[in-house]
């Protein structure tokens, strides 16, 4: 190669080098832009949910001096527990409200006045009196739960500037609420109800307890079924099965199964577990089985990858010192692969936690107030509760929906964080 031609070549290289660097810089910028766009959307989504959901964690109460005279409650002075349970608390509350605002006379006005307080106020009052029967016969200052519409005004979500026809809280109610606030008779508290109660048709009384229990039981069943089956299948396929047409076919099928839309598993669950095996509808047991079918492929695939990643020298060393194949697997390969297997399983579980479509088919989309005590009691799960609330006409459910989404996302972050931790922790060893 002559000197001239080589210098020409290097000039060409230099010229193209600049272009190539520019291209790389441009590519990096595209990448940054892509990440930025992703972040912006995530931020908008999170900001929207958090700003809508945060008010759901507070609940307003109104202090009412309730006259708990036996004749108002419609009971005797020495009433039994049953009589106290069935006493007329609604009447007592309404009489107290009328006494506080004596100039309210018309039927419509009275109804508006009663609407300041939650429909659940009478049950709260009943529980208070049951706990402390000494209240009967006295007039006590009692904090009662505010109605969701009144609450939205007290929280400042609705202002009096809006024309009256565009808001649920009417002008009269606004005046009463302002008066109550000026008297120090309103108070904002942390909304424990949201975590301790099941579903309700009144936004201020609705909670996610049933959904949390349901999600827990469902995931328990899912894990109990999918983990042992998934890991056993992965170990057999990786360590023992011969490589032939049949195992290839099985592998393809498992990969395919991972991509099947989840609603298909719901249909299967309805046909097989409910119609054929006659397991109860709406139960976490069936939900868990259906979701375990859905997560099985994920667990098998990730477990196989984890087992494959175990260095062959470990197996050879074990076999070399006389361990059986089973001993090699259980004593050496599995412990090393376990972080990977667990990571995959947790991610599969997180997927199952966020799933609602297959549960539509097996009756878990239902109105349920009492928390389930076991895997066969009817219950819903978190994503389904979100779906139900998003569909409710009452305005107050908007914030409950977002708050439930926040809780669900919290659990997902926790589970994914756990997966990351396990991986880091065991990799160091």
């Amino acid at each position: 190669m002559s000197k001239q031609s080589s210098s020409r070549a290097s000039a060409a290289i230099r010229a193209s080098l600049k272009k190539r660097y520019a291209r790389e810089r441009r590519f990096q910028w595209y990448g940054r832009l892509a990440v930025l766009i992703g972040f912006v959307f995530l931020f908008i989504l999170l900001a929207d949910i958090v700003s809508k959901g945060t008010p759901a964690f507070t609940q307003h109460y109104i202090r009412v001096s309730v006259e708990l005279e036996p004749d108002v409650l419609g009971i005797e002075r020495d009433a039994t527990r049953d009589q106290i349970f069935n006493a007329n608390y609604l009447g007592a509350i309404r009489a107290s409200l009328r006494a506080m605002f004596p100039d309210v006379t018309g039927r419509k006005e009275k109804q508006q006045l009663y609407r300041l307080l939650s429909i659940g106020a009478e049950y709260n009052l009943r529980d208070m009196v049951l706990k402390n029967p000494g209240l009967i016969g006295h007039t006590s200052e009692i904090w009662l739960r505010a109605h969701a519409e009144a609450g939205s005004y007290l929280k400042g979500q609705v202002t009096a500037d809006l024309p009256e026809s565009d808001r649920k809280v009417k002008d009269m109610q606004v005046a009463w609420l302002d008066q109550l606030r000026a008297q120090g008779r309103t108070e904002s508290r942390f909304n424990t109800t949201f975590f301790t109660q099941g579903d309700s048709r009144e936004p201020e009384m609705a909670g996610i307890r049933v959904a949390l229990y349901g999600s827990f039981f469902t995931l328990l069943v899912t894990f109990a079924i999918a983990f042992p089956i998934g890991v056993s299948a992965a170990v057999y396929l990786e360590e023992f099965a011969p490589r032939n047409r049949l195992t290839d076919l099985i592998e393809i099928n498992i990969n395919n199964l991972a991509a099947v839309p989840s609603i298909v598993f719901g249909l299967l669950g309805l046909a097989v577990f409910i119609n054929f095996f006659e397991l109860p509808r709406s139960a976490p047991l069936v939900g868990g089985i259906v979701l375990s079918l859905m997560t099985l492929p994920t667990i098998i695939i990730t477990s196989r990858a984890a087992i494959q990643a175990v260095s062959p020298s470990i197996r050879q060393a074990a076999l070399g010192v006389g361990a059986s194949r089973l001993q090699t697997v259980t004593h050496h390969v599995l412990p090393v692969a376990m972080p990977g297997i667990l990571t995959g399983s947790i991610i599969g579980m997180a997927q199952a936690l966020g799933e609602s479509a297959p549960l539509l088919m097996i009756g878990m989309v239902a109105f349920i107030m009492d928390a389930p005590a076991g895997v066969t009691d009817p219950s819903t799960v978190l994503p389904v509760q979100i779906f139900l609330w998003a569909d409710s006409p009452e305005r107050g459910f908007t914030e409950k929906t977002s708050a439930a989404i926040m809780v669900l996302m919290g659990f997902l972050i926790l589970m994914n964080g756990l997966a990351v931790y396990l991986r880091r922790h065991f990799e160091k060893k």
Partner: protein
């Protein structure tokens, strides 16, 4: 690490064990059925659960047809105790129930659901017949030679000269809505049935295939439609099915505007546009009497009374059905029904009318209450 499989087995045993224990019975009432009745049933269930010692019933929203199918599957803890329905049980469903051993069914009429056509108070009240409604909104209508043609009407006075000369502009719910189903069935279907050719088609039963095909030819429908229905259901279609496909199809040329599920939004749009007509549930008409007024249909004004007496044609009864065989086996069924039908709930000042239910007349309510207390089975 060796303990993993053992743990898993223990979990599985726990899960299996409690399943066995449960299969024997159930102490929660199981309710399925109509999404229209769901908001009322859930309110009753909640009060029932809070104010009595019974567990709160579980309520699934499966649709009326789906609910009755589950309900009629048989007797036992695995089948629902009550099904809600926004229409009366059909003869075929009743027969299905009987065949599966669900012999005693108690029918409970709970009230009515009215659908209003309304326009802005700034415009005069519409006086429509059901036939006008059908002709204004159907996708295809029978033309001068009896064959179906795309709906040619652009203004109301083209349908009937006494109607105003304004553009047909109707705001209504999308196909996913139950209100839309009821509107299609009651208003569109009711109007179409006033056209003799369509009425004749509806009356034909499945074994009158020749007559059905002749009627279809007269309407200019291709024979493929019959074949498609035959293949879809695996059995010969009834004239009614074809009638439904013709009568319930809403025009898609812009005269009917899908305004979303939010009835409040429709009311706001009507207030802004005096020429438009809106379709929504009666409770929204009542709440917004200052902005919109209901159209008079077949000479009847939509009011609380005309709907509850059944005079207003675009209203439907709402029911629930109780499986009498489960009463006494699963705790609380009758008590729940009694709570539902009590004055406190269903009466004129009760909490259900507060949620938008149109209650029964006083004497009908007393009859229903008595029926529930004595569990009188339905005979069809």
């Amino acid at each position: 690490m060796k303990n993993y499989p053992v743990c898993a087995l223990a979990l599985a045993a726990l899960v299996g064990g409690s399943a066995m224990a449960q299969a024997a019975g159930r102490d929660t009432i199981s309710i399925v059925g109509s999404s229209t009745v769901y908001p009322f049933a859930t309110v009753v269930a909640e009060r029932f659960g809070r104010s009595t010692g019974f567990k709160t019933p579980k309520i699934e929203s499966t649709g009326s047809g789906g609910g009755l199918k589950l309900f009629c599957k048989g007797v036992g803890a695995n089948t629902p105790d009550i099904t809600n329905s926004s229409r009366r049980i059909k003869q075929s469903e009743y027969d299905d129930c009987q065949a599966n051993g669900v012999t005693d069914i108690v029918e409970v009429l709970i009230g009515y659901d009215g659908i209003a056509l309304a326009n802005s108070v700034q415009a005069p009240t519409f006086k429509l017949s059901l036939k006008d409604v059908y002709l204004a909104l159907a996708k295809d209508i029978p033309g001068p030679d009896g064959k179906l043609i795309a709906n040619p009407y652009q203004t109301w006075n083209e349908i009937d000269p006494v109607l105003p000369a304004t553009k047909i502009e109707v705001l209504g719910p999308p196909p996913t809505s139950g209100t839309r189903d009821a509107f299609a069935e009651l208003a569109m279907g009711g109007g179409a049935a006033q056209i003799p050719a369509l009425k004749a088609l509806r009356g034909l039963s499945a074994d009158q295939a020749v007559e059905i095909k002749a009627a279809m030819a007269a309407l200019g429908l291709p024979a493929g439609v019959y074949q498609a229905l035959l293949e879809k259901d695996g059995k010969a279609p009834k004239g009614e099915q074809l009638f439904d496909t013709i009568a319930y199809a809403v025009r898609e040329d812009g005269a009917y505007i899908e305004a979303g599920e939010n009835d409040n939004l429709i009311v706001q749009k009507l207030a802004a546009n005096p020429n438009a007509v809106g379709i929504f549930g009666y409770s929204f008409l009542e709440e917004n009497g200052d902005k919109v007024h209901g159209s008079i249909i077949d000479g009847v004004v939509p009011t609380f009374d005309s709907i509850s007496s059944g005079d207003y044609p675009v209203s439907r009864p709402l029911y629930f059905y109780i499986k009498a065989a489960h009463v006494g086996k699963i705790p609380g069924i009758q008590e729940y029904a009694v709570e539902f039908t009590s004055q406190k709930a269903m009466g004129e000042d009760g909490y259900l009318p507060d949620k938008g239910l149109i209650p029964l007349a006083e004497e009908d309510l007393m009859q229903v209450e008595a029926n529930v207390k004595s569990l009188v089975p339905l005979n069809m």
